[in-house]
């Protein structure tokens, strides 16, 4: 395993400490139990709290700050954080208006946040994100995963919370964004979890994994490598099939790298995706391209579409000031 690390057991705390030190103007790190919260506690708003396994950086810690999250609870790599973390974080950031949990839909995250919610001495609600259309038969199973679309939910709900909206309104908007958002990803390589020390799966030089999540797990299907245009067409067709947009829909397009894919390729994917959508009458009104919801060092990318309406677009455009996303202030 080739990584910039010291002892495997220290990776998480050393990395979190570096993150907090590099962004001391914006975030504060608390250890044992671990959470990140804003350097200045926000007043008089619903506290927005997220979290999940580490290895998806900048998600979620990179989105703590004005206009997005109040706190984030990092678990071990790809492992849900524990209820004591959420309780301590909620205690630190609750400001009299209740707590909204934004949780990616995985059994582990759901159950840990659920146990925290049961113990929480504050008004609270939860938005489960489940944008990954690669998961089939979701009625009979755990359901769809929450992947890169979670970023959009966090940004939009974070903006609404900043206006002083109440808990129910924040939850409702989060659920609306989640309903209007779909993602699908493809991996060219596996990733290597530090504690495991070897790639999670093996893959040949002419193969790819279609429909992967963000934990280095294999996808739905092993397929043959093919040109970017063909991949983009397959991914977007699955997203539109799921979202079934009205004619003349407007969308936010997120081209998200998994950590090991350079910007040059992500912008090439954006080019292919924007053209494909234009041919089908979907106008890309907003976009974001970069490594935002990652799987450690995995080479791969996901495409996310969020169908915009005026409300969602206004909250997307609203100022945000976090370590990984910043505009308008």
């Amino acid at each position: 395993m080739k990584k910039f690390i010291n002892a495997v057991d220290d990776v998480l705390v050393e990395s979190l400490s570096g993150f907090a030190a590099a962004h001391a103007d914006l975030v504060r790190l608390q250890l044992d139990p671990h959470y990140l919260c804003r350097a200045q506690k926000a007043q008089n708003k619903v506290a927005i709290l997220s979290g999940g396994g580490s290895g998806h950086e900048p998600l979620h810690g990179g989105f703590v700050g004005y206009g997005m999250l109040d706190a984030a609870c990092p678990g071990h790599v790809f492992t849900s954080p524990t209820p004591d973390q959420m309780l301590a974080a909620a205690e630190a950031v609750e400001a009299g208006r209740g707590v909204l949990f934004i949780v990616k839909n995985y059994a582990g995250d759901v159950m840990n946040f659920e146990m925290a919610a049961e113990l929480l001495p504050f008004d609270h609600a939860t938005v489960l994100t489940s944008d990954d259309v690669a998961v089939e038969d979701s009625t009979y199973t755990t359901g769809r995963r929450g992947v890169a679309g979670t970023l959009i939910v966090e940004k939009v709900v974070g903006s609404l919370a900043e206006t002083g909206a109440d808990l129910a309104a924040c939850q409702a908007l989060g659920e609306k964004v989640n309903r209007r958002t779909a993602s699908m990803g493809v991996a060219l390589s596996s990733c290597t979890v530090p504690a495991a020390g070897r790639p999670t799966f093996d893959i040949g030089p002419d193969e790819l994994e279609m429909g992967v999540g963000i934990h280095g797990e294999p996808g739905r299907r092993r397929e043959a490598l093919r040109p970017a245009d063909a991949l983009v067409g397959d991914l977007l067709a699955a997203l539109l099939e799921d979202l079934k947009p009205q004619p003349d829909s407007r969308a936010l397009l997120l081209v998200n790298g998994f950590g090991g894919t350079p910007l040059m390729e992500l912008y090439l994917l954006y080019h292919a995706a924007a053209r494909w959508l234009a041919e089908r009458g979907v106008a890309v009104e907003r976009s974001l391209v970069g490594n935002y919801v990652t799987s450690l060092d995995m080479a791969g990318a996901s495409l996310t579409l969020c169908l915009l309406d005026d409300e969602i677009r206004a909250h997307w455009d609203a100022p945000v000031h976090t370590p990984a996303l910043r505009w308008g202030r």
Partner: protein, 208 residues
């Protein structure tokens, strides 16, 4: 059941998990995200580190403390499930005592029921419940029938083994393996494997 036996079991489980590192890791790499062994190892180490503190407690209080410790140290899907198991088991023991096999079986059944209600899963979904539910049923039946410990333990080990094997050909509908659809077929569920290892370990202790 006394606290001393709980502590011995915890140490034996830690050793047994470490001995199965390679197979458990391979299973969660194949149909999960590769962390199940690490999660369980972290949990076991956290419990064993509590040794001195636990030694001063009654069995039910010790199990409760173990549950809380697992809840804050394992994480993932297995953390809240296993924690729920110990917390429910502790509660039932507190109410009904831990002095005979039927009492222990009842506490075990309460633990398994807590896992079911937390994870909303049942037999046949390719999870650790495919081990725990049949083991619990068998345990209740044999304990109430007054079966002698050696036979009881042997039967429970057989059930655990069989339950674990049964997950091999299942499609998962809960947990991460559910995302894989048909690709999960042919692999034993990692949680089922660790459950089987833990049950066998405790049975071996109890029958000697």
């Amino acid at each position: 059941m006394n606290t001393e036996s709980i502590l011995r079991a915890a140490e034996a489980i830690q050793a047994a998990l470490l001995a199965h590192e390679a197979d458990i890791e391979a299973l969660d790499r194949a149909i999960g995200d590769g962390d199940h062994f690490i999660n369980m190892k972290r949990g076991a180490a956290a419990v064993v580190a509590l040794r001195d503190e636990l030694a001063t407690l009654a069995p039910d209080a010790a199990l409760h403390k173990i549950g809380m410790k697992l809840l804050s140290s394992i994480g993932g899907a297995s953390g809240p499930l296993i924690a729920s198991f110990f917390l429910a088991m502790a509660k039932t023991m507190q109410e009904r005592g831990a002095d005979g096999w039927p009492q222990i079986a009842a506490a075990f059944a309460a633990g398994v029921a807590a896992i079911q209600s937390r994870g909303k899963a049942d037999v046949g979904e390719k999870t650790l419940l495919d081990v725990l539910i049949p083991v619990s049923r068998c345990f209740t039946r044999l304990a109430e029938a007054g079966t002698e410990p050696a036979t009881l333990c042997a039967e429970l080990k057989r059930e655990a083994e069989q339950g674990m094997e049964s997950t091999r050909d299942m499609i998962a509908s809960k947990g991460r393996a559910a995302f894989l659809g048909e690709r999960a077929i042919g692999h034993i569920d990692p949680g089922a494997k660790t459950s089987q290892v833990m049950i066998c370990t405790v049975c071996d202790l109890a029958s000697t």
